[in-house]
Symmetry: C3
Subunit: 307 residues, 3 copies
């Protein structure tokens, strides 16, 4: 089966058809030996990725840089406002115009939802959204899917528990729309205050995606294939006592995973919702998940940057 | 005609003979396909550019980095004082000695006039001045000349309006000395408080450069080939009311450019002196001007870094 | 004589056998033409060094980056906490796990003694300690040895004056253990408050290393081969008057080096303990010492990063 990839920009996972997702996941597989530096690649020799990060990031920024460099290309840009003309009051639009004059593609992280779409409509080179505030984070979603698929075999028929802050977490919002392309069952495990927004649940029903709403962690992970943990941020709670009550209830420990084969994922950084004693279990997949960001982003960059 | 380039350091445009300028502008033309990554170049493979930026910059720093990387080389350095030994009190002289041990050329931006010249006299590798406070910014001047020449055909017989803060703008100070090498006519358009300094006007008269002093924008741009806009900075005015009075008078809008073929340039970043509606006109040349920084800096780096 | 290098991580000079030191010093010699970019090297093509710098540094960070790039490889990472997930509270352990997924080796500078050892025990790629607070700085020691050996001919029979803050300086602590592998004589020249800690002196006696304790500079440098200067930091003195008393006594001037062939070294940055008039003397070796960081670190990276 010959597949093709038709997106010029990577802005939202909702722009992807299922065939686009499958194309990237398959291409990512081919990228793994290069990502591990078992093979040297010169495909993007002479090409430059323009990295525009207006918010702090280790994982996302460095995995894009790693991806571009493993492909043989190089990187220019900035990872904070300090030290750039942004400090002189330059608007995003102008800065993006400039970077588009220098680089062959832009990766943008910005605190304003819609920023990446706006820029993609105003520059002549491909744009990748690396997180736009409360908006989208499509490359995280693709590496999450890739991790599930490569660890478990296929995405259809997966049972997935998604745990933590489901109300504000852009990562899980993007993820569920992608999962809804496949025949999966999702458990949303969160305190009432942080459950998945009703409009997203409405969308899932329209997409015929099976899900249930749960409020407790430990009695809901025995029959799932994936436990997808996320941070619960103290700042989300108006009353610190409410946070204290909730916090420990959504924390995973090694003892909770006896006789459980589910893989444990996390977009990272974690604070304390996954105990360090989980790290040594075979269930722990969050660091490999971070690695998977490299081949997945290599596949995306390879697809949108013309040779 | 065989030309040659004899400068070892790029410190001030006033060190350039006309033949040096012409050499760089011609070589920049050859660099364009590489700058656009239509061709891959390995000429500076293994070479390192040492970037020492003590002041914030997006355009200048990234276009030097782009230039070096498009040539096949790479970059080391810093783009702010934070995170360097400068924070431990190291003097510029010592830091430059160190970088000169690592790199094949230095690009220096510093807030002190004369810094680049001083360093070039004390290290064994070529030094490029990327702006020394109120002093010089010769690579900006060369890309400005390149933009005029490549868009209009030749520099002789150009009519150029230079608009905005002419008193403090180091960019326009460098530019006029370079323009004076050619047979041009300049209109200096600025409020009285921000006009070109008398000593520079004296120099221009000695160089037989034709110019006029103007205080209004709109009735002075119909007969020019180039409208070179610059920022007027609020901080320059002791009384904010004076600034408010002056500000709107030097702002260019699309409506002001009807039936006018002049190219509009700006060293960027702009604040609001060029309306966004100008961006879509064929007159707007400021983003292409930013691009031109890459082939021009490629030409300079190629000339001073030995293979 | 075929030698080999058996260390997988570079954590402390005390992990080195004499044969390991000699191996690196010899290999560094071979790296010099590449470090000077007289030769182009592609040996580490496609490899990535992960730079994790939690403390400011120019020399160390840039010389590692230079070393990796001169070897044909490239670099990812961060040089300050700002702009990384560390700001979101991520622990060192997790950040290192992530970087180990992206890169082929880690260079770590951290303010906590033992940080590099801890990380090396918890990731699957080689780790180089680039300074862990009051702990070790083994690559500085190796470049110091390399400088002495390449300038003077051999390490055995050297007479070395080590001057300045010997109590708190991690650089000199590492250095003396390495020197003790050879048949050297050391003079420790410092004010009483800042002399070498007794436990290190005990170790030196056990290692049969000859040394003397001195409190004055000028009458102790006539019969040495090396004068190794270090900074005396004002903050070390509870009473600023004590600092003022001591300061000038350990300052080296050109006039002090008449008819003296000793090489003058300094780990840099200096503040004022070496007068600028020393820079032009043939004795001054501190900038060449900084250069030597490149071939020495090339030798280390080449040895620990698998092709």
């Amino acid at each position: 089966m010959i597949m093709s990839f038709n997106l010029e920009n990577i802005i939202s996972i909702r722009d992807f058809k299922k065939s686009d997702v499958d194309y990237i996941l398959d291409l990512a597989d081919e990228m793994v030996p290069i990502a591990k530096s078992q093979q040297v690649c010169h495909k993007k020799d002479g090409k430059l990725l323009g990295v525009m990060f207006y918010e702090p990031s280790t994982r996302t920024r460095l995995s894009f840089e790693t991806a571009m460099k493993r492909l043989g290309g190089d990187v220019i840009g900035f990872n904070q406002k300090q030290g750039t003309s942004v400090e002189k009051g330059e608007v995003l639009y102008d800065t993006a115009q400039i970077i588009s004059q220098y680089a062959d593609a832009i990766v943008l992280r910005h605190d304003m939802a819609g920023a990446a779409r706006f820029i993609s409509q105003n520059v002549d080179i491909p744009v990748v959204n690396a997180g736009d505030g409360p908006g989208q984070h499509p490359t995280q979603t693709l590496l999450d899917l890739y991790t599930m698929k490569s660890e478990i075999g296929e995405l259809n028929n997966l049972k997935i528990a998604i745990v933590g802050d489901l109300k504000y977490g852009r990562t899980v919002h993007s993820l569920v729309y992608a999962l809804a392309m496949y025949n999966v069952e999702i458990k949303f495990i969160a305190p009432d205050e942080l459950q998945m927004p009703p409009e997203i649940l409405d969308d899932l029903r329209k997409l015929n995606c099976k899900y249930s709403i749960e409020t407790t962690l430990l009695d809901n992970i025995d029959d799932v294939d994936v436990i997808y943990m996320t941070r619960i941020q103290k700042e989300r709670f108006p009353d610190p006592k409410e946070y204290a009550k909730v916090k420990g209830k959504y924390r995973l420990k090694a003892a909770n995973l006896k006789d459980n084969d589910a893989i444990v994922m996390h977009p990272l950084p974690r604070v304390d919702e996954i105990n360090f004693d989980v790290d040594k279990l075979k269930n722990a997949m969050y660091f490999k998940q971070a690695f998977n960001g490299v081949p997945v982003r290599m596949a995306l960059l390879d697809s949108i940057i013309k040779d």
